[in-house]
Each structure stands twice: as structure tokens, then as C-alpha cells.
């Protein structure tokens, strides 16, 4: 069967790809370029656009709120990585064959399955200065209450802790699966060489968990840079904008009661995108190497 002189096998992949590639281009790839374009305009989302060149970026360079958000993004990125060792630790703790362990593993995984909105509400409640569990425990131990989410010094850390809860569960499950695949012969060989505890973990087990570690880093970095839900739910960026991250600040500028500055918002998004690009390129490079290795 031939069509327009092309063989079925040349034509087939394009027909299979067409619908998927089409929607992906329209909804994902094209909007990236549109956003970059919008960032050169002053636009309220409804009326006329005015071309203002790099003006949005110049303003951004002097915007204190932008630097606060950027700084918080960096804090998120660094602290979020704690989910990886924490997840490994729980995975090692649960990697046993006792009665009911499967149920334990599922229940430990729970926080990842529920929505971040619920996680945010749960933790707002946990931090509540008058009735929250955390402050009740602090009072019992003789300390004063700490209004975590109302204090500029603690608020970002408080939100990150809430985020670490599901993220640790995610890394845990990745490591549990990885541990299942660890070669028992190598472990036994290590034992014969008298490797124990930390040494065994570091020299024998961790190298075999490399794929799990890689995926954990990938999903954790993305999670940290995508942080939006928890900030929106728990503090709306407050108090006084001190817990904003770039993702939230952009949303605030473009869509909230603070006005509809699409161009300025787009400029913030472009900065966030550029940070992500570094990371995406690294990931693609690694995938490319793997592909060529086949």
C-alpha cells in the first residue's frame, strides 16, 4: 500500500504522531515562546499591548520582592533535597520481611497520594498558634508558642517542612523499589569482606541504587522549582511577601488582586524558565548519552 508515492512505513509514524504532537505544540511548546514575547510588552490581559522592550526586566532587576522570591526558591531547592536522604533512611528502615510490612510501606507512602491542598491545610492546622498540635507540644515542654506561618523568619521553612512530607514519601518508594533490585550476591560478598553498616551502604548498596538516586534528584528538583500550591494555600506568600517563591510571585503579578500585569508576570516566568533550562539540558544530555549507549 502506497500513498503519494510514500511507503506505508515512512508515513505511519507521522500519522501516529500527528494528534499528540499537535496538542503538545499548541498547549506547551508554543506558549513558551508566546510568554517570552509577552514579557517585552506592557499588557493587562484585555486591552492593547504596548511594546516596551526590556523594560519589564529592568524593573525586575530593581524589584526587592523578586529577590526575596528568588532567595526563597534557592532555600526550597537546597532544603528540598533533604527528602532524598530522609527517603533512603525510611526505605532502609522498612526494607524487612516482617508480618504486615507491605501495609506499612503503603501507609508510609500515603502523604504523596493526597493533594498538596490537603497537605497545606493539614500543616496550617498543625502550626496553628493557639490550637495547633505543634504549639501544644511546645507548651507542654515548657516553650512559648511559635506562630510559624506569621513569622517572617520561619515561614518559608515551615512551608518547606510541609512539602518535605510528601516528597520524602516519594523518594522512599523509589528507594524501596531500588532496594528490591539490589544484587544479594554482592551484599554477601561485601559481608565476607567484613563490610558492615555505613561502609556497606556507601560502597556496596548506594552504587547499586544510582538509578533511584538519579530519579529522586530529578523529581525533587522539579518539585522544589514548581512550589506553588503550598505557598498559595498556607500563606498566600505572606506575611508581607516573605514566603513568596518565583512561581507564586508571578501568579500574583499576573492574576491576583494586585493587578493584571501579564508582561511583568511573563518576565518573572521567563527567569524561572531559564533556571529550569539549565537543569532540563543536563537531563536531556544524560538521556542522549544513554540512548547512544544502546
Amino acid at each position: 500500500m502506497r500513498l503519494f508515492g510514500l511507503s506505508q512505513r515512512t508515513l505511519a509514524p507521522w500519522l501516529f504522531l500527528a494528534p499528540g504532537v499537535f496538542v503538545f505544540l499548541i498547549y506547551v511548546i508554543l506558549p513558551i515562546f508566546q510568554s517570552i514575547n509577552i514579557s517585552f510588552y506592557e499588557w493587562d490581559g484585555l486591552g492593547e499591548r504596548t511594546y516596551i522592550g526590556l523594560q519589564n526586566y529592568v524593573e525586575l532587576a530593581d524589584d526587592e520582592a523578586f529577590y526575596t522570591s528568588l532567595k526563597n526558591n534557592v532555600i526550597w531547592l537546597i532544603l528540598y533535597l533533604l527528602a532524598i536522604p530522609a527517603g533512603l533512611f525510611i526505605a532502609l528502615f522498612l526494607n524487612q520481611n516482617v508480618w504486615g510490612i507491605r501495609l506499612y510501606k503503603s501507609l508510609f507512602f500515603f502523604p504523596f497520594v493526597i493533594s498538596q491542598v490537603v497537605v497545606g491545610l493539614v500543616f496550617s492546622w498543625f502550626y496553628d498558634p493557639t490550637n495547633g498540635l505543634m504549639n501544644i507540644l511546645l507548651n507542654v515542654l515548657g516553650f512559648d508558642s511559635i506562630p510559624v506561618l506569621a513569622d517572617e523568619r520561619y515561614v518559608t521553612y515551615g512551608i518547606i517542612v510541609a512539602g518535605l512530607w510528601p516528597q520524602t514519601a516519594y523518594c522512599m518508594i523509589l528507594y524501596l523499589t531500588g532496594l528490591n533490585a539490589v544484587n544479594p550476591e554482592q551484599i554477601e560478598a561485601g559481608r565476607l569482606d567484613n563490610a558492615k553498616g555505613w561502609k556497606m551502604l556507601w560502597y556496596v548498596v548506594l552504587p547499586q541504587l544510582k538509578p533511584a538516586t538519579f530519579i529522586s534528584i530529578v523529581v525533587t528538583v522539579i518539585g522544589a522549582l514548581r512550589s506553588f500550591d503550598l505557598v498559595s494555600i498556607m500563606t498566600k506568600g505572606g506575611p508581607w511577601g516573605s514566603s513568596r517563591v518565583l512561581g507564586y510571585y508571578m501568579y500574583e503579578k499576573a492574576f491576583s488582586e494586585y493587578g493584571f500585569r501579564m508582561g511583568y508576570g511573563a518576565a518573572i516566568a521567563v527567569v524561572l524558565f531559564l533556571i529550569m533550562i539549565v537543569y532540563i539540558s543536563y537531563f536531556l544530555y544524560k538521556m542522549y548519552r544513554d540512548e547512544k549507549g544502546y
Partner: protein, 282 residues
């Protein structure tokens, strides 16, 4: 096995482990347990600040009925299903095809297209936000479940393609070659040879995508507003604003919102984890 199996350890250590396990779980889930306990308290307990003492009465049924009767929670839940189910069907269907094309055929731009899907999958949502909202408005589907589902289908196709392509690539190539020698057309190879083998991948992706979409909050706030189209995540948040002092109701609402993905996870655990850990073991 690492660490050393506990049954090879001295007996006291085994006992310590067996006691530590439930305690650790309790601590890990403490925030959630606290929410559940709050959700069955009476309004009186909440008003007098009795959050942690023994509840004066157990209002499990009363509270959970109240949130459905006095708030549009049921409507929000329904909206969530209206977004999540079409997205699962759409994204899985599209990615079966794209995954097949990218795994089976060799052509020059194959890797470029594959990488486009992967890269797109990682971009921050904010860079898509303004144009996607605009597009949705222009298509006349702003503030509808359809509009939200359309975006989700397109975006999730990226991740699903990555998943499907790798899955099909791992299938034995001889099957396809043999069918070709027999003169089977490409579309029939897709439908009768490859698709039946993709069932585990389809199941894994379906549960995973359902959970992702159910839990989406960002796009729900960008593309919908109001009771008619908002899914449960955004709905819960707006209810939270109205119920400032009614923590027992907020808690009950949170529990209800968490049930579908949790149930999905427990019923399809094997598939869920298979989907999530793709690539973690190689």
C-alpha cells in the same frame, strides 16, 4: 538483602523493631490522624477549643453529611471526576500512538520529537500560564471542565509519551518484524500486536495520571472559577475561606478530597508503583 534481615538479629532487637514500626508510622501520619480526629468533633468542641482532649461526642456522620448538605462539596467532587477521567482517557490514547511511533520507527527527527516531549514536561507551569489562559478564553472553554481537561491532556501527553515509548521499546522487536513479514499493515500491528501487550503500561499510567490530575491545584485556579467548574482542590480552598472557625468541617472536607486518590492507590498499588518508579530500576 540490605540492611541485615531482622530475623537474623538477636531477639531483643527484633522486638525493638516490631515496637518501633507502629510508633514510627503513628508519628509519620500524625498530622493526618489529627485531621481525622478533628473531623469527627462537634462544633461545641471546636468552639471551646477542645481539639486534643476526648471528644464530647463523636459526630462522624453528622459532620460528613453536613459538608455535603451545606456546601457544594459534592459538586466540586463531580467536577474533579469530569476533569480527571477525560484526561486519563485522552492522554493515554494519544501517548499510546506517539509512544508506538517513537519506539518502533526509525526516522531522522525521532529523537528530536522525543526530547521535545520530555523537555516540555519539565517546564515551569508559570511560563505556560498566560498564553494557555488566553487560548482557553479564545476557544470559549474558559471556566469549563472541558477547558481544564484539554490542557491536562496536552501536557500529560509529554510524560505519558516518555513512559509508553520506553515501555514499547523494551518489548521484543521480533513480534513486529514477524508481523511485517506476514504482510500485516502498520495500523493492524499497532492494534493487534502491540496494544494488547501494553495493558500493564496503560493501567499504570491511568492510575498515575488520575492521581496527578485529581490533585492539581494550580491549573484549576488559573482556568476555572466558581462552583460550576472548579474541581475539589480549588473548591476546598475556597470553602476554607468561608469556614474560618469551622475546622471540623474543613477537616472533613480534606478527608473527602483525599479519598478517591487514596482508594485508587490501594486498589491499584502494584500498577501505581510500577508507574512511579519507571526508570528507578534499570
Amino acid at each position: 538483602m540490605f540492611p541485615v534481615p531482622i530475623e537474623r538479629r538477636p531477639t531483643p532487637l527484633q522486638w525493638i523493631y516490631k515496637v518501633a514500626l507502629p510508633i514510627a508510622l503513628l508519628l509519620w501520619l500524625l498530622p493526618l490522624i489529627a485531621v481525622f480526629l478533628t473531623s469527627i468533633r462537634s462544633a461545641g468542641d471546636i468552639a471551646t477549643g477542645n481539639y486534643w482532649g476526648w471528644p464530647t461526642s463523636i459526630n462522624l456522620i453528622a459532620n460528613y453529611t453536613a459538608i455535603f448538605e451545606n456546601t457544594p462539596l459534592g459538586k466540586y467532587l463531580f467536577n474533579s471526576f469530569r476533569v480527571a477521567i477525560p484526561t486519563v482517557i485522552g492522554a493515554v490514547a494519544l501517548s499510546c500512538m506517539t509512544g508506538f511511533a517513537l519506539a518502533v520507527y526509525q526516522f531522522r527527527s525521532n529523537l528530536v520529537i522525543f526530547f521535545m516531549f520530555i523537555a516540555g514536561n519539565f517546564v515551569p507551569f508559570q511560563i505556560l500560564m498566560v498564553p494557555v489562559r488566553d487560548l482557553t478564553l479564545q476557544l470559549g472553554i474558559y471556566n469549563t471542565a472541558t477547558g481544564l481537561a484539554m490542557f491536562h491532556i496536552a501536557f500529560q501527553t509529554g510524560f505519558c509519551t516518555l513512559f509508553m515509548r520506553n515501555f514499547i521499546k523494551a518489548l521484543p522487536r521480533e513480534l513486529i518484524e514477524a508481523a511485517r513479514v506476514e504482510g500485516v499493515s502498520e495500523i493492524r500491528i499497532f492494534w493487534f500486536v502491540v496494544l494488547p501487550l501494553m495493558k500493564p503500561a496503560i493501567a499504570a499510567l491511568s492510575v498515575l495520571i488520575f492521581t496527578f490530575i485529581w490533585n492539581d491545584y494550580f491549573w484549576a485556579t488559573v482556568l476555572t472559577q466558581g462552583v460550576d467548574s472548579q474541581p475539589i482542590t480549588a473548591g476546598l480552598y475556597s470553602l476554607n475561606g468561608q469556614w474560618i472557625a469551622a475546622w471540623h468541617l474543613v477537616s472533613a472536607g480534606s478527608i473527602v478530597a483525599a479519598i478517591p486518590p487514596v482508594a485508587m492507590f490501594f486498589l491499584m498499588q502494584k500498577h501505581f508503583i510500577a508507574g512511579l518508579t519507571l526508570g528507578a530500576v534499570k
